[in-house]
Symmetry: C4
Subunit: 193 residues, 4 copies
């Protein structure tokens, strides 16, 4: 079974998720720059989610690049990941329109938490199919970031009702932590060739 | 004629169908967790349709994987299938917004019924073109699930006005029945290699 | 220059155009089958446009399949075609929501007219680049359908203010006329191999 | 690392951006040709943005065609470009619905300015990775258009509050200036082969 269509379909879904989020930034009725001001939280939450989806696309790209075998369970684990990612436009919109209100921050974290669990599951299934000695397995190594993220999301969810600011900062920090993840696999891959 | 663009186009349409369904989950006006409660039926119907579309994508992927020859009739049979699948976001939205009301459940089943007929037609045309001794033909075998599904959808439609609950259960069961279909072709394919 | 990305991008745009049309079929507020009745013209216009876009995708697929060389002018002629096709969801929506009112039928025809001209231009540029003795050139032959269509669209536009019914019939007939066009190139292609 | 998925993902995002813009052309309530008149500025701004996105797709296509090596930084520089391009439907919608009001023209220019900077950054990273003697580096040469564009966008932004007409003309002229850019790389590429 080839991974080509799995990549193509995931690219398609991710491209659409990342783009329909922009539909939440509704055209304002005013015609002055001041009319844009209420859109600031909507815009900021769009930026954050765009970065998260970019991270997922990037990591997904790298993970599948170092995958050789695919089976039915991997196809479903991938669809499961796409399901949780597909809820990000909704949580982003709710959070942006309500200027980072506590409940919206909590739900944003919950969906991110499920995304990270779904990604971890997909990763495990790919390693299982491709062997513990596979390129991917070596590249991931101890997977510290992958193991840390769910706990940070839980922290963000917990903080949301206590201090929305602290919660937002946690989500931003997790994104920054992931922004340079590719080099793990990239370096391993170059070494192996 | 190559099947590459057929796969690419189908992936594109399926990726969009699966993603625009999420637009039906409209951002609520409230800012508390309670504001999410009325969205529960919308969310549940999204989950069910996501699974159905995942099944179609998966089966479509497997079917075309074991196809070598494509012709004009197959292109149209594929478009015919995509047409019925494209109506799923509409029936999902109607069903979700009205909390599984009888008529919405009936229509949901009608569209699923036409999807299954369209899939069966496409399958027949591919087998006809690729021969009764082709990989696909062997992999499908007696195609019990394919033959049973339309009757189960008819049962779901019939039950919808009598008991919406029973009707919903039927649709959920059909989805579960299909959730592990890939192995048929997967196994045959591995045996043949 | 390779034609792969031209095909991929066109597939993407066509897949989105064909799918966002379904967003015009707005979920009704009623929960009975009767609530669907006002959607009939919206549904019928969706069916017609789906068929037209299917025809364009099919013909585009065949045309590019028999193309070997691509240049900058061809990329722009293709974008020009996609531009007019991208207006079909709008004209379909206007026509459907107003139950085939004269002006909406006229605009529907105008956009179809420009699509057919844009397709003809793209075809000419591809033949120019690939030679009058190319596969495509042979396959198209006298291109009777291509030459007839613009005049039939003009007829449909002219009839729209006089008799919306007659106008609709013309648009349906043109679609039927094109529904089996692929065999031209398909046959030539098979003969040549 | 291969560039295939980078191209596929970019094609997907660009295809969606270019297509969802059409959703801003809302179906009018009237059923006469006169009902279309208020849509003229919306349509014109759609045409302009379609051309800009077509230019970006075309140039992106050419740039990546002459790229052989891709790394993590290039993936992110590409996502950064897609981010700014994804805001074009919003600025187009605001500008169109308010008939080219000063503030909307200024914002349109600001987003175009960031797009051009993001494109320049991506180009620099690709050249850095592929070498100053690479095909792309030769093809771009002095990159006069690329260097001029940001200043013209700044001019357009500056003019917007003084004379919306002058500002619009600047944006149209920049588009025209770019409409025939492909030949630079195309010619170099043909020479090199």
């Amino acid at each position: 079974m080839n991974k080509g269509r799995l990549e193509a379909f995931s690219d398609g879904v991710l491209a659409i998720i990342i783009t329909i989020m922009v539909l939440e930034i509704k055209v304002p009725h005013g015609v002055t720059m001041a009319a844009l001001k209420p859109l600031l939280p909507v815009f900021l939450s769009y930026v954050l989610s765009f970065i998260y989806l970019g991270i997922y696309w990037n990591n997904h790209h790298h993970m599948l690049h170092s995958t050789t075998k695919v089976n039915g369970s991997i196809l479903w684990a991938n669809l499961h990941l796409l399901f949780w990612l597909s809820l990000i436009p909704f949580t982003t919109g709710w959070m942006g329109e309500n200027a980072f209100a506590p409940a919206t921050l909590a739900l944003y974290g919950v969906v991110l938490l499920f995304c990270s669990i779904a990604y971890w599951l997909l990763q495990r299934m790919i390693i299982q199919k491709n062997g513990a000695d596979s390129l991917l397995s070596h590249a991931i190594g101890k997977d510290l970031k992958g193991k840390l993220s769910p706990f940070l999301y839980l922290l963000g969810i917990g903080l949301s009702f206590w201090s929305p600011w602290a919660s937002s900062v946690v989500y931003v920090l997790v994104a920054f932590m992931w922004l340079i993840p590719d080099q793990r696999i990239e370096r391993t891959y170059e070494l192996k060739q």
